[in-house]
Structures are given as structure tokens and as C-alpha cells.
């Protein structure tokens, strides 16, 4: 257990609202539990180093795979699920009713619906009672079967009667311990402890959560667990995540943080080492209609109008101007209608897209601040400023959707840990460059990463004839299926022949897409950077650091196997979490994996 020095990671318990990522209003007031007076020994299992070890090997049935080839496990370090002497702890008896009651509360709408149904048909009540009973029973079972165990190295959790879950996490992987209590918890004097390991995507069943500890137990548990958090592991971990609300008072007294990753105060403004990497030019507005941002804005506007009319009881279709336009439109001929409608739609779309671009990216500036920080600021109405620590930057993605590419445009997204995960990231915190000329996008990427330009713009290694064949086969197979479906539908419905005849146009289109997809396909491994590019309608070139790769996935479908291809996927904790080199020849793919991650792959190679 490392001594303090962890202040940057762990806000000291100073009262409500400082329990890591806990939502302030649900944080438990822990004032009545003076932490200093809590001897660790009060937590039985936490303090007792479990050294009782089953002397013999755990008896395992005579199945062929008994020999688990884990090298030299020290006998003294065998606590855990297999240890019969481990002192497992349970949830507080007071929390017995928490789960059933919360589940019942969630069921309320359903129950209400069933009751109404009951009033009409007479069958609902039975089902309602059954659902309620099931909720109560599962809640009780969850309480009764939940056990946890804390050893010097790890935390174990198990629960479930029919579906049994067993989880364990190394204590030095624990990044946060959140203690929360909602209304019911507070009435019962219990709370919920959630142990975070830095992953933000865990499904509910997989999260490490103890729902129903007494406040004293929870607080002591928090202190004990966080005392084990390594000092200075990643001082930026907690501070950098965009939606973290650390009260100023709690963040300030952290002398040991050293400020390496902590958000800088504004005193840094005007420092000589600030340099502007990119800023918005008016000419970039021409790219606005070429992305989907405009459609998003259109949707938002539409929603707002609908809401307005609903709220004010104005029927838009009955208002004067709308009626005038509609009656004029009705008097046009068909061709005129199509032309006029199309022109209005395009003009409206362009206008809205430009407005959207301005609203989101106005005043965009990308600034390098010192040697370790990037700052992105943008926005007209709501100004957004993002700080990206270079120590958390693992790469850059240059995306060129088809339309944008046709106009020689591109945009950049940072691949970084701690910001929003997944596709939403594009429009959230990690924008490095809005749609802009591709040349600028490439130089920004190269500049931010400090890599040669050719990694961001240069040619990539092609994946060969087999990969090309697969692109065509996939695109054409899909098109043929659609054509066949359209044909069958029109023949069955006796529709006009031009419909299915016209659908044959899909085939050349599919071929064009396939050709473009193959052109986009490529990879390159240069030094400590892996570059990979895929896609046509939305083409992306990802440049990631090889030391950010924390594992490999190789996928091979039956069809790929016949062509000698595979898809190599590097998993990482940043950005989209996985970046693929698609349809790469087997030999080349393995060579990439070997070269990119040092001694990880070679043990699994032949010879």
C-alpha cells in the first residue's frame, strides 16, 4: 500500500460532493464518520492479510485441461474464490429492502398500465402481482447472495443464485470509489459503493457495485481502497475527464499532484510558448453543407418548431404565410413543383448547415500550450473549451466522408483516453479540426502528433488483389440481393417494369463503391505509429501510437480464410477503443502485430 502522494487522484474526504465522480446531490454526508478515527481493523477482511492457503492443490476434476499453465504462482498468494477460509462479507441487513423497493418503483408505470388493463379486461392484476412478486424475490436473492472480500491485493465480488457472477479487480487498478446514496438509501442509512477502474462503458451487470453498505462501512471501505491507489500513476486521470466536477476547494489542496496533468489555471494565458496551430477561416464555410452537421441542426430546429406549436396551440398550417405559399405551390405544374421544391430544399439545407457550422465552430482555435497541452475552443452561443493533455493523446483520426472528400476537405478528431468514448466523440470533446481543407487537416494532425507529414498524407501499403476481390464480392452480393428483392416485390405486386429494371443501376454503383473502398484500404507501420485507413462513404485514416495498443483481436470469416485474409484489430483505451486493419493478407497482418507490440505476439508464433 503506497503512502499518500495520491492527492491528485483522490480528493481527500472533506465532506459531501468529493467522493470521486459522485453526483454532488447524492453524495453521502460523511461528516459523522470521522475518518481518522476509523481504525482499519474495523473492516475485518480488509485488514486481515489472508495467508491461509489450501495446502494441497485445489482438487480439480479429471478433465484434460486441468493444468493451468500460469507460471509460478506463489503459494502464499492464493486467496480469492477458491480459498475456503476467506472471510466473505455481506451487505448491511438494513439494505435488504433497497433492491426490492427500487425495482418496484421502476415497475410502477408497468403496474399502473396493468391495473388500467385490468379495469378493462380483468386479467392484468394477476400479472401485476406476479411482476411485483418477481421483483421482490430477485431483490431479496440479490441481497442474500452478494458477498465481497477484500484481500491485500484484490477485491472480490460475487452475487447471483441461478446466474452467478464473480468479479474481481486488482486494488492497484482501482481509479475511483464512488459512494452515493439516493433518497431510499438515505432513509435507511445505507449507501452504494461503486468501484471504478477507468473503464466507462461497463454494462450494469459487470460494474463493480456494492448496493447497500452502512455509511460507516462504505466510508471505511473507500478510505482503505483508495489508500492503495498508486501515487503519481496518472495524475491527470481524474482531473482531465471533461465532465468531472471537482469542487474547487477539494482540488486546490493537492500539493503532491505536481500539476503535471491537472488543469492549468488561467495564469498560463499569454505565455510565450503558446502557439496557434489552426484557427477558423471564413472560406471553410464551404465545407459546411458537405457533412451531416446540417441535418442534425435541421432535426433540432424541427423539434423546436414542433414543440413551439404544441406549447402555443398555433397550427402552423393555418397561418397566413404558410397558406399563401401552399396555394401558390399548388398552382404550379409537376415539373415546376419538383424544381421549385428541390431548389428550396437545397437552399434551405445549405443555409441551415452554414448556420450550424457557425454555431458550433465559430471562433475555433486550436492552440498548443507549452509542451504538454492542447487547447481547443469553439462555439458561438455556447462556447466550448477543451483541454487535451498530450500525455493522454494516443493518436489522431482524419475523417473524409465522401462529399467532403470530393471537395478536398477533411476533419480531425483526437484519439485520447478520458474523453467521450465512441462515435459521439466526433461531435463532443475531441474535435481537433472542423471540416476544413484536407491539406490543413493533414498538417494539423502531423503537427499535433509530432510526426512526419507523410504519415498523415503519404501513400499507404495496399492490401492486394484478394482484398480487392473481397470488396467487389461484398458490394455486388449486397446489390444483387437488393435487386432481387425489388424484382420479387414488383413482380408479386404487378408493379411497373421500370422499377426493377431501374434497380439494376445499383450494380454499377456498388462496383464504384467497391473500387473506392479498395482504394481507401491501406495501412502503414512507421516507427512507433500505426496508420490504418478504411471506408468509402466515411473514410477514416487513424494514426495511433503503437504503445497505446493494449491487445490484439484477429478476426477471420470463412470467406476471408479462403482468400488468405484477416482483419487485425488493435484494441486501445482511447477514442473508439479499437482500430482495424481490414482485409489484410495473413502474413502481412501478423507482421504488423509483431512489429507493433514488441514481445507480445512472438510467444504465440510458430518457431
Amino acid at each position: 500500500m503506497t503512502a499518500p502522494g495520491t492527492a491528485g487522484l483522490v480528493p481527500e474526504p472533506a465532506g459531501p460532493g468529493v467522493t470521486g465522480g459522485a453526483v454532488p446531490e447524492t453524495a453521502v454526508p460523511v461528516a459523522e464518520v470521522p475518518v481518522a478515527e476509523l481504525p482499519v481493523a474495523e473492516l475485518p477482511a480488509a485488514a486481515v492479510p489472508v495467508v491461509k492457503v489450501p495446502s494441497a492443490e485445489v482438487p480439480v476434476a479429471e478433465v484434460p485441461e486441468t493444468a493451468v499453465p500460469v507460471a509460478e504462482v506463489p503459494e502464499t498468494a492464493m486467496p480469492g474464490f477458491a480459498d475456503p477460509h476467506a472471510r466473505w462479507q455481506r451487505l448491511s441487513p438494513r439494505s435488504l429492502v433497497v433492491r426490492p423497493l427500487t425495482d418496484l418503483a421502476r415497475l410502477l408505470p408497468l403496474l399502473a398500465g396493468l391495473l388500467i388493463l385490468h379495469a378493462r379486461t380483468g386479467g392484468g392484476l394477476v400479472w401485476g402481482i406476479a411482476a411485483a412478486a418477481a421483483a421482490v424475490v430477485t431483490g431479496l436473492v440479490h441481497w442474500a447472495t452478494t458477498r465481497y472480500l477484500i484481500t491485500p491485493e484484490r477485491v472480490y465480488l460475487r452475487h447471483g443464485l441461478l446466474n452467478q457472477k464473480r468479479l474481481s479487480v486488482a486494488r492497484d487498478r482501482i481509479r475511483s470509489v464512488d459512494v452515493t446514496a439516493h433518497l431510499l438509501h438515505r432513509m435507511l442509512g445505507v449507501c452504494r459503493v461503486t468501484i471504478g477502474t477507468g473503464r466507462n462503458d461497463l454494462r450494469s451487470g459487470e460494474s463493480f457495485r456494492l448496493d447497500g453498505l452502512t455509511r460507516a462501512d462504505a466510508e471505511a471501505l473507500r478510505v482503505v481502497l483508495l489508500a492503495g491507489v498508486r501515487g503519481g500513476a496518472r495524475p491527470g486521470d481524474r482531473a482531465q475527464t471533461a465532465d468531472q466536477h471537482v469542487p474547487a476547494g477539494a482540488a486546490a489542496p493537492s500539493p503532491a499532484a505536481g500539476g503535471t496533468g491537472a488543469p492549468r489555471a488561467d495564469g498560463a494565458r499569454g505565455r510565450p510558448d503558446r502557439r496557434e496551430i489552426a484557427s477558423l477561416r471564413l472560406g471553410w464555410l464551404r465545407f459546411a453543407p458537405l457533412t451531416l452537421t446540417g441535418l442534425v441542426v435541421l432535426g433540432v430546429l424541427f423539434g423546436a418548431v414542433v414543440q413551439l406549436t404544441n406549447a402555443t396551440d398555433i397550427n402552423l398550417a393555418r397561418t397566413g404565410p404558410v397558406r399563401l405559399v401552399v396555394s401558390d405551390y399548388a398552382s404550379l405544374s409537376v415539373v415546376q413543383r419538383v424544381l421549385a421544391g428541390g431548389a428550396v430544399a437545397i437552399a434551405g439545407y445549405v443555409l441551415i448547415a452554414v448556420i450550424g457550422y457557425i454555431a458550433v465552430y465559430w471562433n475555433f482555435r486550436l492552440v498548443g500550450d507549452g509542451i504538454d497541452t492542447l487547447r481547443v475552443s469553439r462555439g458561438l452561443i455556447s462556447v466550448r473549451a477543451t483541454t487535451i493533455s498530450l500525455s493522454r493523446l494516443r493518436g489522431v483520426e482524419i475523417s473524409e466522408p465522401l462529399l467532403l472528400r470530393a471537395a478536398r476537405g477533411a476533419r480531425c478528431t483526437a484519439i485520447t483516453t478520458g474523453l467521450h468514448v465512441g462515435r459521439g466523440a466526433e461531435h463532443e470533446g475531441s474535435v481537433l479540426l472542423p471540416p476544413a481543407p484536407a491539406t490543413i487537416a493533414r498538417s494539423v494532425a502531423a503537427d499535433v502528433l509530432g510526426v512526419p507529414d507523410e504519415l498523415c498524407s503519404g501513400p499507404l501499403e495496399r492490401h492486394g488483389a484478394a482484398a480487392r476481390r473481397r470488396r467487389y464480392a461484398r458490394a455486388l452480393a449486397g446489390a444483387v440481393l437488393i435487386v432481387a428483392a425489388i424484382m420479387a416485390a414488383t413482380l408479386a405486386q404487378h408493379g411497373p417494369a421500370w422499377v426493377w429494371a431501374g434497380s439494376f443501376l445499383l450494380l454499377p454503383v456498388a462496383a464504384l463503391v467497391a473500387a473506392d473502398r479498395y482504394r481507401s484500404l491501406g495501412h502503414r507501420l512507421a516507427g512507433e505509429w500505426l496508420v490504418t485507413r478504411t471506408g468509402s462513404l466515411s473514410r477514416r485514416r487513424s494514426i495511433i501510437r503503437t504503445d497505446a495498443i493494449i491487445g490484439w483481436r484477429i478476426h477471420q470469416t470463412w470467406f476471408q480464410r479462403r482468400l488468405g485474409l484477416m482483419t487485425l484489430t488493435a484494441t486501445t483505451a482511447a477514442g473508439q477503443q479499437h482500430y482495424s486493419v481490414r482485409d489484410v493478407p495473413v502474413r502481412t497482418g501478423l507482421a504488423i502485430a509483431i512489429a507493433a507490440t514488441g514481445d507480445l505476439v512472438p510467444p504465440f508464433l510458430l518457431g
Binding site: 493451468v68 509460478e72 477458491a82 468479479l167 474481481s168 486488482a170 470463412w558 484494441t571
Partner: protein
């Protein structure tokens, strides 16, 4: 040790790569068969119910026979195929698995990057004395799952992986 012999074999599916040393439990075949048969039976039963409601035409008879044949074939072939593909191995450096049947996945996760080690056993798995082990890394895309392990072995593996990850430092988050 059987794993040593297997380790020397090249992976016929992916030349150059070594076959992971250990197979899963043979009981997994029965479990997968039971599961596939059960879900197949549900589909066929649903079809029969619909067919019965609309008076059992010849078309329905053909459709039901076809689905029964396809799903029955799936329940017979898939588990055995899968058993031949599913392999796993733990070294002190990494966790290495091969899964799938029609499409095959290989996973390599360094022990040092493993964050949590879980085991989940559904009712069906428990009936057949099986369990699965999941090791998660800091990447949302990186969990490594080993299905169809013997239950006692899974517990042991869980603890041994726990110890192994405890000894490696850092998880690259």
C-alpha cells in the same frame, strides 16, 4: 502434457500462429447442443403454432420441415465444430484465445493490461458444470472471454489470473 504437443502445431486456420494450448471442457459440446436445440425447438414450436392457427397448409409443412432441418443440423454440427476451434492459453505474459466456428476470432491480451477478471455462470452452464471467464482490459473493445470451462478449473484460473495480474504493474489507462 497435452498442451505441449498441441503447442507445437501450427494453426491450420491461420498459418504462422500457434494453436493455444488448452481445449475447453468436453461437456461444452453437450451444453452448446442443448442450447441450440432448445432455441431451435422454440422457433419450430412458434412456427407450428402459427401454422396451426392458419390451418396447416402444405407450404407451412415445407417451411417447418426446412427450419427443423436447418436448426437441427446447426445443433448437431455447430457444437462439435466449435469445440474444435475453441482453445485458450495463459502464459505469464498474456492471455491467448481462439474462439468461433464459422468465423474465427483470436485474442491476445497482455496480462499486464488486464483490469478485472470475472466469471459468469448461467443456469444452463451450471447444469453442465461449466463456467466462463472474462478478462477485461482498459479498452472497451478488449474483453477476452473463455467459454465452456470446467467449473472448478474456472475458479482456479480466476484466482491464478488474479495473482498474475497483481504482479504485473500498470494497465495503460
Amino acid at each position: 502434457m497435452p498442451s505441449a504437443a498441441a503447442a507445437a502445431a501450427s494453426d491450420p486456420l491461420l498459418p504462422g500462429l500457434r494453436v493455444p494450448g488448452n481445449r475447453v471442457s468436453r461437456r461444452a459440446i453437450s451444453y452448446w447442443t442443448a442450447r441450440a436445440a432448445l432455441s431451435g425447438a422454440v422457433v419450430v414450436a412458434a412456427e407450428s403454432a402459427v401454422a396451426g392457427a392458419s390451418g396447416f397448409g402444405v407450404t407451412w409443412g415445407v417451411v417447418i420441415a426446412a427450419t427443423a432441418a436447418v436448426l437441427g443440423g446447426h445443433a448437431l454440427i455447430m457444437p462439435r465444430w466449435r469445440y474444435r476451434v475453441h482453445r485458450w492459453e495463459v502464459t505469464d505474459q498474456a492471455l491467448y484465445t481462439r474462439t468461433g466456428w464459422f468465423s474465427v476470432h483470436w485474442r491476445i491480451a497482455p496480462i499486464s493490461r488486464i483490469q478485472t477478471i470475472d466469471s459468469h455462470r448461467s443456469l444452463g452452464e451450471r447444469i453442465f458444470g461449466l463456467a466462463n471467464v472474462t478478462a477485461t482490459t482498459a479498452s472497451a473493445a478488449g474483453p477476452v472471454r473463455i467459454h465452456g470451462l470446467d467449473r472448478a478449473l474456472a475458479d482456479k484460473l480466476l484466482d491464478q489470473l488474479a495473482v498474475a495480474t497483481g504482479q504485473a504493474a500498470g494497465d495503460a489507462t
